[in-house]
Symmetry: D2
Subunit: 298 residues, 4 copies
């Protein structure tokens, strides 16, 4: 299939590579062109503009950092909506707001184009290994032809709704759940640390018993070791996603008190200079509020 | 070994049975005597009083519901402290407060006896199958002879401290983490339910991906099905444990804002008539506050 | 002075009337024209469009419900920015977002016009009696000529900054403080009600002692009597203002955990059908969560 | 009347002095005897023991720091309950738990004595000036003879219940409301400070308008000036009172989410070394979390 791929960050690079390796013709675009050129050496075509990436594409993927980045490539004179041919499909895999996903759906419908949302769960290593989980939403006739593409990218695809923005909601809810794990571990680890328990042993107990899930392994380890750099996912992105989850909750009239707590914690971390740290650095707040300094030997 | 076992509820029954089957001589006591008699048919000796269960015991286990129950058998003229011979050991497996565990340690030390705390993680089925996880704390010379007993009860024992009450803190922190899972799932499920996502499918997505841990399987399923009776663990016990975690946090000067949120949710559930429901019935509050009635078809 | 006045709701009607009575020539505009006609009988000129209200005005006031209403009259081809003559002034008295106030400042500057923010504290009766408090912000040369107008409307004007949007922030913070009073009273009244104390006597004690301020008198009385209709200020507007305060806090990187709590309470009230009630109906949530039904005789 | 007075701290000293000046015979006791001797020079009798202060008293007041202090003088072989003659009255004015007040009521009833609770609102200056507000509860025949004593101490007495512990609940709820004022002001002041508004001017605006109550004047000024020493009322006592309010709420099954927030804030302040500061030092947390250092020039 002829595919355009816009956004070659840590996640997008792996996804585009896997589409290439599955035998598709992939035209790639990235704001910093050197990333596109690297993929060109593996057989992709490097596009100089968004429009060029859309030109002959049957499907265009976007995998970008936030609403603003997606808006900047989607709308405007030379954007995706203006450039895609009628009947072709835009697949948005970015973690964006429910509201923007709705606006994209409307804009593509107006332009006679198709739109699906397919955000992913997984870290960059999973993207590289084609082990992502995709949460997809869109009309059946839109999603059906995308199946081989999703299979090239991930290990499993869950279709949750015919309304694309619902997939974005599910993705945001997932990040809310991970952030909840981080905060609960942060508090629990601060508590037992102050009682003299070894942080790493404590996390090992948890992950050997009731909490044997990836989220607890990954974040429990980082919190036990107080290792918050380099960031796998930065606190300021965590703040953004919790804000989007709360905005969706307000739109749907669903109070989310735990999300509100998380928002304030992330905002505190960002306001006190930790926005660039991994989002598990929420643990520094639990330690700080307990009078445990980060250079504490405990 | 000669063992006394006090408290034959859902958990204690399985534990005492496994000690018997490992070849120990077990004298059992329960406030309602019929439970002791049932075990007597499997080879245990039924004691009529706490003192009788302590009489010739080298080790006495207690597995009771709360602080009050433990206080009532431990202290007083015919209690465990008054009845155990010098040099023998009391193993407290109940989920009790850090403060009471400290008082027990002091009382046994004054009486020339030994004391260890060994609370457990696991549901009644795990107790029956000798698959519990034990979190043990006490002096090495106290714990060492207990190893074969712990092995008869559980699949693994984690020694966390020489101070017995620290094991109780770890146990309480574990229940705090489970309650955090329940609240976060409750909010997320209410959110996606209102967007039209199937609750069960949503939980399946979570447990197939980042949240493949027993806590998410168990509670996610109950929340998706809104099945809160019969209670595996009642909301009023959840309230008690969160209260004890907060009390330990106040004693150690560790703020636990997520635990505070949980306490208020459990208290609301109890105050509005749901104290007897499973603690996953926190989900009814998230549904209610979102305007989703429990008889909603969604 | 030649004044345009846009927005003749409960607040704007009183303000425009007082400007008239102070001897100014006032051209009034309201979306529903009958309100403008009523004022015309008192000497105002009724304008048929926003542009007409701006036509010969030296100063145009806007007093509207929310961001959307202000945007609809300010921007666009026949809006205030397009219609005001260079050198004239727009005074925004509406409770709007900090962000919109900033956009208005920029738009007027681009158009060679002046802009000041002057939101008010006070209920409709205070507006009618020229007893409002104004919180004004803008450049000194913009504010100075407005002094007689502010004096005609209110009993006192506080100038807080040269940046207009700062006045909007102060106004939002004031509504946050009032909502905090409502929530704290709601919880305290539920607590003492359940102990058998008379609600009205309790509020009388508070307002006779440490809490002898208008906010406590007004809302304490409503909460004691559970009198939430008709709304003096509706819960959905309270939700909006708390949301705007949180948005300003996020922009300035100031966590506001109490505001987060209030947001969730208002959202719960709105989601369960109480958006039209007075914002003091937060008390129904405290009562409900305590198991006190609203038809309780206490 | 013959009066015993136990507890001559900042509050008790003023109260005992006013009873003396109203013409009563007052026997005073304080753990540190020099305070009793100072009052003896004004005509009081200094007692060497609690029992001596009770000996010929018709009424004994206690005005002490916390539950522990009251328990230590009330119970035991030479305590108030053991020492008072039948038919005489103990008036507890300390801010103690609802539970302890209940225990005192029961103990005095068992001993054929009378008991009333009469906690007070007001700072030491108000105690010295006989300007306190008393919240009294007890049986009418117990309270009626106390009227002249209450009039000698305070400017007004509110009788809230026949059950003494209800007065303690009302007192605790009042401290909860004051702490709510402190937290809300702390957040609002941090917000406007970061926008460049003068802190003192902001507080002046509030107290000139909707918040013209003593609580806002007192704490607004301290927060604006960041003046937290010496403590008028220490943060660790604030933590204690919020804990007691939450305990009463749990007993009565009334969730108090704002009190939970306050508890965590006070606990954070205490855990990070600020327990000795005035309780308005909650504002240091709002400033800190916003990235405003206390040495910030703003």
């Amino acid at each position: 299939m002829d595919i355009g791929f816009i956004g070659l960050g840590n996640m997008g690079h792996g996804m585009a590579t896997n589409l290439l390796q599955a035998g598709h013709r992939v035209t790639v675009y990235n704001r910093s062109p050197e990333k596109a050129e690297a993929l060109a050496q593996q057989g992709a075509t490097a596009a100089g503009t968004v429009a060029e990436a859309c030109d002959s594409a049957e499907v265009v993927f976007t995998m970008l950092a936030d609403d603003r980045a997606v808006e900047s490539v989607a709308f405007g004179e030379a954007g995706i909506v203006a450039s895609l041919a009628p009947g072709t499909t835009h697949v948005s895999s970015s973690t964006i707001s429910v509201a923007l996903s709705g606006r994209l759906a409307a804009a593509h419908a107006d332009a006679g184009q198709r739109y699906a949302a397919a955000p992913v769960f997984g870290r960059p290593e999973a993207a590289a290994a084609a082990k992502l989980f995709l949460v997809a939403a869109g009309e059946p006739q839109v999603l059906q032809p995308l199946t081989p593409l999703f299979d090239a990218i991930g290990q499993r695809t869950f279709v949750v709704s015919e309304e694309p923005h619902t997939a974005n909601l599910v993705k945001l809810s997932g990040n809310f759940l991970i952030a909840s794990v981080i905060e609960s571990l942060s508090e629990a680890v601060a508590l037992v640390t102050k009682a003299g328990v070894d942080r790493q042993q404590y996390v090992d107990i948890l992950t050997s018993t009731l909490f044997s899930a990836p989220a607890y392994h990954t974040y429990g380890g980082l919190i036990a070791r107080r290792q918050f750099e380099p960031a796998g996912f930065a606190a300021q992105l965590g703040l953004k996603d919790i804000r989007l989850a709360l905005a969706a909750g307000e739109q749907l009239q669903v109070p989310l008190p735990l999300a509100s707590l998380l928002r304030d914690r992330f905002l505190t971390l960002v306001a006190t200079g930790g926005g660039h740290l991994d989002w598990s650095a929420l643990a520094t707040l639990a330690d700080r509020d307990a009078g445990l300094m980060s250079d504490d030997p405990a």
